[in-house]
């Protein structure tokens, strides 16, 4: 039956093949999203490529989280659409989606006091009953090791600090071992060391062939770690490209409505982004 969408023809529980380098895992075309009466995204085009870290930046209310939610399948498109692994997002079942993409939400509350280790193990749920379930223990151990959360595997999640929870939540997403990672501000609650750690983990995942979409507020982190940056403002994609091309003083000053200066780092050459401040009297 060639009329059936590609997703429906596949075996429900068959694990997807690993992505090819440079494969477009998610593609948004003329995506328009309305939340209530308010249009939040207008005609956004975006390609998410295997092997790349794509940073979504922009001022508050620009639509970054909404775009991430739309890519995750949480927010329905009003017009335009999103394709995941070549098939429209709406044709996948929740289970098939979970085998292909993992989502880290902004906040991660938990209704019952599961331990951190239990929470990370929940990330393995999509693979229950498939041959990949054999990797459960290894995936959990590896995800906790790279996020430096192994030390509190036995502590109840609600008793952890904000920063510890954020890393445990990230470990859960990594343990899922999906090809596409959608991360909404994973660095918001973290100190300097752990911010760098998280971005380094993203880089390693991208190097291993995954595609990462990450919402960031810290432009310096985006400049230093992302392969591609998409700047959103008022629901539109204002700029897209390599960090050095996109993160310019003119563009950022206009988008953030605040004068910004951009200097090359004396050693690495990465753009350093700095808001202009009046000298104190």
């Amino acid at each position: 039956m060639s009329l059936l969408p590609a997703a429906l023809r596949r075996d429900r529980t068959a694990p997807p093949p690993p992505p090819r380098p440079g494969e477009v895992l998610a593609r948004a075309r003329e995506l328009t999203v309305r939340l209530g009466p308010r249009p939040v995204l207008h005609d956004v085009d975006l390609d998410v490529t295997a092997g790349h870290v794509l940073a979504l930046v922009g001022p508050n209310g620009a639509g970054k989280s909404t775009l991430l939610g739309a890519l995750a399948g949480d927010v329905p498109a009003e017009s335009g659409g999103i394709a995941l692994a070549g098939a429209p997002l709406t044709t996948w079942t929740p289970r098939q989606l979970a085998m292909r993409r993992a989502v880290l939400p902004q906040s991660a509350p938990l209704a019952f006091p599961f331990t951190a280790g239990d929470v990370v193990r929940m990330g393995r749920a999509p693979w229950a009953g498939t041959p990949l379930a054999d990797e459960d223990d290894a995936a959990v151990a590896e995800a906790m090791a790279v996020t430096e959360t192994t030390g509190f595997a036995d502590r109840p999640y609600p008793a952890l600090s904000g920063g510890e929870r954020a890393r445990v939540a990230l470990a859960r997403v990594l343990a899922q071992r999906a090809a596409l990672l959608l991360l909404d501000e994973p660095t918001a609650a973290l100190d300097l060391h752990h911010q760098e750690l998280v971005l380094r983990v993203c880089r390693e995942q991208a190097a291993a062939g995954k595609a990462i979409v990450i919402v960031l507020h810290d432009l310096g982190l985006a400049a230093a770690h992302a392969d591609r940056v998409a700047v959103l403002a008022a629901g539109r994609r204002t700029a897209y490209g390599a960090p050095a091309d996109v993160l310019t003083a003119d563009l950022l000053s206009e988008v953030y409505r605040h004068p910004v200066e951009v200097l090359p780092h004396p050693r690495t050459g990465h753009p350093l982004i700095h808001p202009l401040r009046d000298p104190t009297p």
Partner: protein
């Protein structure tokens, strides 16, 4: 001690990152929890057997334990011998149907409580507290008051199920916002639903004749005193269906603790699961209410104690709560029969007397944890 208090909520300094090899620790702790769950299951089963034996021997007419074993063996065609007419009848026509009913009702309530707390993502959800039991009771009382007999002995159960299902859907719809249920909304909705159902039951009482009145009063207090084998048969399908279906949702209930959206991201079809579980909860509650009336707090206390003892994982919690509920209700009914001899205390009164203070403590603890209701 609360589990949360032993852990500090300070960030581990970067230098103090774990140095010991991780998998060994993780495995050890999981084996530890496993043995703990096995021990707990064994302890619960042993106590349940002890209570079963105590319930069958104790009462106005004492039957020694060896006689009970002999009579059971005889009925199962495994040797033994029948008892004289009176003890045989007391055992098989009075005590055993009552005990069986207590076990069924208790298991149903315990299991329904665990499922409900999981589905609502709220540790205070319980059929009695949020009004599902009252809703089912309206169905049961209404079918008695109107003299309905369309489904034979199952009529009361069917009506209790229909009314219970309607109430769960109502409470569920009213108490949720943005995929979550706040404690305050849930409890307030429960008050409103209980008040409304109380009024409906009051109406039925007002229009009932004398014989119906005795039957109805029964529902309001909660009791197993009228247990018979036909009653056991009347609720068995409901209770068995609910109890057998429940464990299949355990892993997905664990994921639901992350929130609906996150559970969806992990492949759970949340809408379908919620709807199915709401039906299962209605089945279990209806089974309990149709024969025993409103027996509150079993579904609250049992899952909580088990969660404290063995952690929140639903693969143990759901069947464990059924076992624990059966144990608690059999014990409470034994108390109801024997504490105030020759009178009999209503079962619902006993569970409420013990359960309400527990509920109160839970409320205070939940409030302290989240820093007020706001």
């Amino acid at each position: 001690m609360q589990r949360g208090q032993c852990a500090q909520s300070e960030e581990v300094p970067p230098g103090a990152a774990p140095t010991t090899p991780p998998p060994a620790g993780a495995t050890r702790s999981r084996t530890h929890t496993l043995t703990r769950k096995t021990l707990l299951t064994l302890a619960l089963t042993a106590t349940l057997l002890a209570i079963t034996l105590a319930s069958t021997t104790t009462g106005a007419y004492h039957i020694p334990a060896p006689d009970i074993l002999a009579s059971t063996a005889h009925r199962a065609h495994l040797g033994g011998h029948p008892l004289p007419r009176v003890p045989e009848s007391v055992l098989w026509d009075v005590r055993l149907p009552r005990l069986t009913l207590a076990l069924l009702v208790g298991a149903s309530l315990g299991c329904a409580g665990a499922l409900m707390q999981g589905v609502f993502g709220n540790p205070l959800a319980e059929p009695g507290v949020i009004g599902i039991s009252s809703g089912a009771a309206v169905g049961a009382v209404g079918s008695i008051a109107l003299g309905l007999t369309f489904a034979g002995t199952w009529t009361v159960t069917v009506c209790a199920f229909a009314a219970g299902l309607l109430t769960v859907l109502l409470v569920y719809g009213l108490s949720r916002s943005a995929g979550r249920t706040e404690v305050v909304t849930l409890v307030l909705t429960g008050i409103a639903v209980n008040a409304f159902c109380g009024a409906l039951i009051g109406l039925c009482v007002f229009y009932a004749d004398n014989s119906q009145l005795t039957q109805i009063t029964f529902w309001q207090l909660g009791s197993l005193a009228q247990a018979t084998w036909p009653k056991v048969l009347a609720v068995l399908p409901c209770a068995a269906a609910g109890l057998l279906a429940a464990p299949f949702f355990a892993r997905r209930l664990d994921l639901l603790a992350l929130g609906e959206r996150q559970a969806g991201h992990l492949g759970v079809d949340v809408e379908r699961m919620r709807l199915t579980l709401v039906c299962v909860v209605a089945l279990l509650t209806a089974a309990a209410v149709a024969v025993a009336g409103i027996v509150a707090f079993v579904g609250l206390v049992v899952p909580h104690l088990l969660r404290m003892a063995a952690g929140p994982g639903h693969r143990f919690l759901v069947p464990g709560s059924a076992l624990g509920g059966a144990l608690v209700l059999a014990a409470a009914d034994l108390g109801a029969r024997t504490l105030a001899v020759p009178a009999e205390l209503p079962l619902g009164v006993i569970t409420a007397l013990l359960g309400s203070p527990f509920f109160f403590w839970l409320l205070r603890r939940t409030r302290a944890r989240q820093g007020g209701w706001a």
